[in-house]
Symmetry: C2
Subunit: 215 residues, 2 copies
Amino acid sequence: MHIQTAFRATNSSSQTGIGGSDPLSSTQSAAITLFPADAPIYAQGDEAHDLYMVEFGTVRISRVTSDGRRQITGFLTAGDVFGFEADDEHESCAESVDGAGVRVLRSACRGEPTAALLKMALKGLARTQQQLMLLGCRSANARMAAFLLDLSERQANDHEVHLPMQRNDVADYLGLTFETVSRTLRFLKDAGMIRLKTISDVQFLDRDALEQLCE
Amino acid sequence: MHIQTAFRATNSSSQTGIGGSDPLSSTQSAAITLFPADAPIYAQGDEAHDLYMVEFGTVRISRVTSDGRRQITGFLTAGDVFGFEADDEHESCAESVDGAGVRVLRSACRGEPTAALLKMALKGLARTQQQLMLLGCRSANARMAAFLLDLSERQANDHEVHLPMQRNDVADYLGLTFETVSRTLRFLKDAGMIRLKTISDVQFLDRDALEQLCE
DNA sequence: CGACCTGTTGATTCTGCTCAATCAACGTGG
DNA sequence: CCACGTTGATTGAGCAGAATCAACAGGTCG
């Protein structure tokens, strides 16, 4: 099974600054491919050729264990680059969450690596370590608070957060069950820390309390 | 406070193949520094200049949260390279676990990056993702089993594993308490999967059962 | 020998998982 | 239009497992 609905849009010069200089000036691939919700971008075991950059929407990176469980190892949004592998095979799979636009950076990984390429790899490393700290939080409430604050920072909005993914995805990201995710949001609501504007839009009522909670 | 007992040894050409060619031929720093147990190599907040390679012994990378808890984000052994940062400041701290020999790779990160450098960074990324999957294991027994098997692979020994770090470190690595670590080892012992040759040497009696457990 | 540190074990508490029911939103087809 | 099925989200009850608090054993070092 492969991508069907993926279409190609004209290149809309990404606003997603990486460092200062555009690291892709020599590797531009003008086409952006749209992956509808839940469409696979690459799968576990696929050969790893290229790198990818999210242009809009959200991409999830996940890995499935032999017992069928799924661990989401990252949610990526505009400007994030993914597809790095130590070997020539993808250890994780990448899927669109909500209809994501992805640009393929061909030949970015061919030849001698550039400083920009290294920087992107290090950014991926930093993201992964960040999530590691998140999973280190013992309580479910703390993890959720940390997750919301992390999203808030990425979305550059101190007062509100949009959750493009569903509860199941959040659960597999935080190492919880989706029931617990639901309960946790309810706890934060009852504690007066957040308000659920819609099912996927969270408004912060007491940011300090959230920050204190995830410590 | 800085390293005191650190001494410099003659360079013993490392056997720790990274890829095939020696990536450090142009960046050799002949000196190896010995860090005694628990000695800091660098601290959270230190300026990040160089990269480091473990020559012998074990190094732990950790991060402390504002509430005082510690999350160990990696145990590194001979051949592993660490010190990568996305920014110019160390987000984590590195300490010797058991008396570790560390070589500084000066200027490895200056100028244009090499393919070998990128490869090392990607290896670090892969290690971090591996641990992320480990933390994704729900049960304490599963985490411990996965940890032991992971160590076994790194030590290239199918029958036995040496634990250079103490229970407290294992706990902070696995996101458990040290009491639970103790109990978990006891469980694996009672289940006939392992034998504790010494307090820090674990012998596998039923490797298959361990592998099945951590699924 | 005593002080201290690491590790083990026990008892209790509490958190999150499991199993289950319910509800709201949506789409389909009669 | 409404009956029906589906899917995602919420909520409840009971239980298993890990954290917490506490006691104790073994080793090392002064």
